[in-house]
């Protein structure tokens, strides 16, 4: 743990004013306050705390009140016994005490005692546990992680009441001192993966970690990769399910997003709801998601390629309709599609950031002015708008991949506009080579399709029934493979 200032530890003097001055020298900020009070026999006491992150009511009720009603204790140990508060720690030197104050734990000083006591009365304003906006389900749990790592750990512990659940806390960030927690199930998660994750987190030397995505960047083996290198979730039920499969979770204080490793691409095509509905419905949903991604990626590019290079691909009737639509257009098909895709990206970007009270006005401008009027003015064609809209909507069936899909979609339009269908095929082959040679902590990104892992196909595009999912995913290479021990299908059925 990095101390506040790297110099030899400074012990407490035992004189309250000198010790307060020493602490204030380390922490001169205005939000570091001193609460002075006296014991029954008028001995001076003080609590030094960071305003805003300390529970002052608890401090008064459980610390100041018992001390003021008792004669002065002789030692710090005696003082701790007087308190009505369980979470106390001795602080031998000023630097350690300052670290605790900054973490929200006040420091108790008593005149004549050369040892401080830190009190676990940290209090941070938190938002309520609610359903995350990024993964809303019709059926299934609605709890989501919040920005407090302790609460998030509690949410996990509530679902996994096993001694095998391990939380290992590390501190990252020279200035932010963010608590980063590596969570896993002992005996299920691969030890090598846990060790490598801890090593990588331990090696991070950065000033601050505002969000878990920062940690994700350091955990990635290819930091320049187009594809995600770690799975993400905001829901404890999903996280626990992934941990039960053998994955390792990384939680970061201040972030509601948990990372999971190893990550495979097929994860993003799964939804928590798939496990709460019938396997048939889940399979259909997954096929639809896959088709939607294919449509999202290829439709704009094929439209450009078909129009520019291979009109035979289009049925005659459709060709006539499109020909009528694109007649006298000033832009080439590739430029038209590229322009519309950029407009789509701008609209998405604006709709995410704009204040809600202007959303309606902007939607009207986006839909009517940019869409309808642009077609009437002859700047773009109606088929192009339909294709871009369909492509844009389709990408959101797999929300975790939307960013990647939009970049690849633009690249596809560029290659389709340059060398047509062959460009699309070459770019697809390039992506395939790239993906098959990528892995996340030993798990190939394209598994279970490449390399083909037959057993894992049961929970890929095809979702088998619960009795068939009796083992953990083979791609994670966990030693404890069994999930469902008794196949009492007949008994239950």
């Amino acid at each position: 743990m990095e101390k506040t200032k790297k110099r030899s530890p400074q012990p407490f003097a035992g004189e309250i004013e000198k010790d307060i001055a020493a602490v204030k020298e380390f922490l001169p900020a205005d939000d570091i306050l001193v609460y002075r009070f006296e014991t029954e026999d008028k001995k001076a006491c003080a609590a030094v705390y960071a305003d805003g992150i300390t529970d002052k009511e608890l401090l008064g009720q459980l610390v100041a009140k018992p001390l003021s009603l008792s004669p002065a204790p002789k030692t710090a140990q005696d003082a701790r016994q007087l308190l009505y508060f369980p979470e106390t720690k001795p602080a031998k030197d000023v630097q350690t005490a300052c670290d605790e104050i900054l973490a929200g734990n006040p420091l108790l000083l008593i005149d004549g005692i050369a040892e401080g006591t830190t009190l676990g009365t940290k209090k941070v304003s938190l938002r309520a546990i609610m359903e995350p906006q990024t993964s809303i389900t019709v059926k299934g749990p609605r709890e989501g992680f919040i920005e407090d790592v302790k609460t998030n750990m509690g949410l996990i512990r509530r679902r996994l009441k096993t001694p095998a659940l391990r939380f290992e806390t590390m501190e990252v960030g020279r200035a932010s001192k963010t608590a980063v927690v590596v969570a896993y199930l002992e005996g299920i998660a691969q030890k090598e993966v846990v060790r490598e994750i801890k090593d990588r987190i331990g090696a991070i030397d950065i000033d601050g970690v505002p969000d878990s995505s920062y940690i994700g960047k350091f955990l990635a083996k290819k930091s320049y990769s187009l594809f995600k290198q770690a799975g993400t979730t905001e829901k404890p039920d999903i996280l626990c399910a992934k941990m039960l499969e053998g994955r390792v979770a990384v939680l970061s204080d201040g972030s509601p997003i948990a990372l999971t490793l190893p990550y495979i691409l097929a994860e993003d095509f799964q939804s928590s709801q798939d496990y709460f509905v019938s396997p048939y419905r889940a399979t259909i949903s997954r096929i639809l998601r896959t088709l939607a991604v294919i449509v999202s990626l290829f439709l704009p590019a094929y439209y450009v390629a078909a129009e520019l290079f291979r009109l035979q691909l289009l049925p005659f009737g459709l060709l006539m309709t499109i020909s009528g639509g694109v007649q006298d257009l000033p832009l080439s098909p590739s430029l038209e599609l590229f322009f519309l895709l950029i407009v789509l990206e701008i609209l998405i970007e604006a709709s995410v950031r704009m204040p809600k009270y202007v959303a309606l006005a902007l939607s009207v401008i986006g839909a009517l002015v940019l869409g309808d009027t642009a077609v009437k003015a002859g700047v773009v064609s109606s088929p192009a708008i339909i294709i871009v809209a369909l492509s844009g909507i389709s990408a959101y069936t797999v929300p975790d991949l939307t960013g990647t899909l939009s970049v690849i979609r633009l690249a596809y339009v560029v290659v389709a506009g340059s060398i047509g269908t062959y460009g699309i095929l070459l770019f697809t082959a390039l992506l395939a080579y790239y993906l098959v040679s990528s892995d996340s902590y030993g798990a190939p990104l394209l598994a279970p399709f490449s390399p083909l892992i037959r057993r894992d196909l049961r929970d890929s595009i095809w979702k088998a029934d619960i009795y068939s999912l009796d083992t953990r995913p083979a791609v994670l290479r966990v030693k404890n493979k069994t999930r469902l021990k008794v196949r009492n299908k007949e008994k239950n059925g």
Binding site: F309, R310, L311, Q312, L313, L314, P315, F316, G317, L318, L319, I419, G420, T421, Y422, G423, I424, L425, L426, T428, A429, L430, A432, Y433, Y434, V436, S437, P444, L446, F449, S450, P451, L452
Partner: protein
């Protein structure tokens, strides 16, 4: 070590091997063997299958790589020279499929023939693939299998109603000369049997491996034979004019429908498999040359792909001449490298285990 799985070798033969034999090969075969084209192809398949069986027999008896076997027998320098020669052979064997692919792409994927430079990005892709080793060959084979099975079946099903299989009768009408002439001229399409030799030591030989590999090879061969039968049944006497067969075979089923040439979507998907497979001989070439020189594959990959690009541009308008040279003049080179030498490798001196693996065990 750069590993490939036995299953992936099977997929390579079942799903990727047939695709290069569906472009110019059927028309070439129809020209020489006419309605006996199936028998010519069968001769080639049996010959190639026998070589694969021989290599698998070798794989059963050793876990050394081919390079280690050569090194054990002839010494390191000779092994490197031989690897260099195999590298050159792979480059040679890659040239015609590349030209075939280029012609197919330029004719079938464009309304107007594009400049040859449109084909150049293939070599950038191939360079990338060459730096990824055998593992990438195996893993793209995993992807290729479902694409091939679905799209190939769809095209055959579309073409089947137009096929009159009576065109294949009477059997043996072109005589032994036609059948074996066709087999001889088709040799340059049958170099796939060499790949398992270079996969030696890179895959784990398990029980029943020979059966699996030969079974998948038989499945791939059967797919080609069915394709040839449907093709000749559809086009009969004018089959010799149908270059780029893959795109021609199902066109009558879809051209007049309200859906348009929907079969082209399957053809395009199969071109993806073709792209994967055209990279394989180049990847093998780079593997051999980097082993021969003893350097990482990046530089050989760059040089080989640049040279192949230059050859493609140089022979842009000479495909017919190139094909004549390859099928009629250079058949003995293909016979030597693809058939004779792999069989001769059975005579190489083997050790119980690969020296490298022994060392790593220690």
């Amino acid at each position: 070590m750069d590993k490939i799985k036995l299953r992936q070798i099977c997929f390579l033969f079942a799903a990727m091997m047939p695709i290069t034999k569906t472009i110019v090969y059927p028309a070439t075969l129809a020209y020489t063997a006419r309605n006996d084209l199936l028998w010519s192809a069968l001769v080639n398949f049996l010959l190639e299958g026998a070589v694969i069986a021989a290599v698998l027999f070798l794989a059963k008896r050793t876990n050394c790589t081919f390079f280690e076997l050569l090194q054990n027998t002839f010494g390191k320098v000779a092994a490197r020279i031989l690897y260099g020669l195999f590298g050159l052979f792979f480059a040679l064997s890659a040239l015609l499929p590349l030209m075939e692919q280029k012609n197919f792409v330029t004719v079938e994927l464009y309304e107007n023939v594009p400049p040859v430079i449109s084909f150049a990005p293939f070599f950038a892709l191939c360079f990338f693939a060459c730096t990824k080793g055998f593992k990438s060959i195996g893993r793209v084979a995993d992807i290729a299998l479902p694409v091939f099975v679905f799209c190939f079946a769809a095209i055959l099903l579309l073409a089947l109603p137009q096929a009159d299989f009576a065109a294949l009768l009477p059997i043996g009408a072109s005589g032994a000369k036609g059948i074996f002439g066709g087999a001889l001229q088709g040799l340059n399409w049958y170099t796939d049997c060499l790949y398992p030799l270079f996969f030696l030591g890179h895959f784990e030989y398990e029980k029943g491996a020979a059966g699996k590999v030969l079974g998948s090879y038989a499945a791939g061969s059967a797919a080609v034979l069915v394709f040839l039968a449907v093709f000749y049944g559809t086009y009969s006497d004018i089959a010799i004019l149908q270059y780029n067969t893959l795109a021609q075979i199902s066109k009558y089923a879809t051209a007049g429908t309200s859906l348009g040439r929907v079969d082209l979507l399957f053809v395009f998907s199969l071109v993806l498999v073709l792209i994967f497979y055209c990279c394989v001989p180049v990847q093998m070439c780079v593997h051999c040359i980097s082993k021969a020189i003893g350097c990482p594959p990046v530089w050989p990959a760059a040089v080989v792909n640049l040279l192949l690009l230059a050859f493609t541009i140089f022979f842009n308008y000479s495909f017919a001449e190139l094909q004549t040279v390859f099928t009629q003049k250079l058949w003995f080179v293909f016979a030597l490298f693809a058939y004779v030498l792999p069989v001769c490798s059975l005579l190489l001196r083997r050790t119980a285990n690969s020296p490298q693996k022994e060392k790593s065990r220690e």
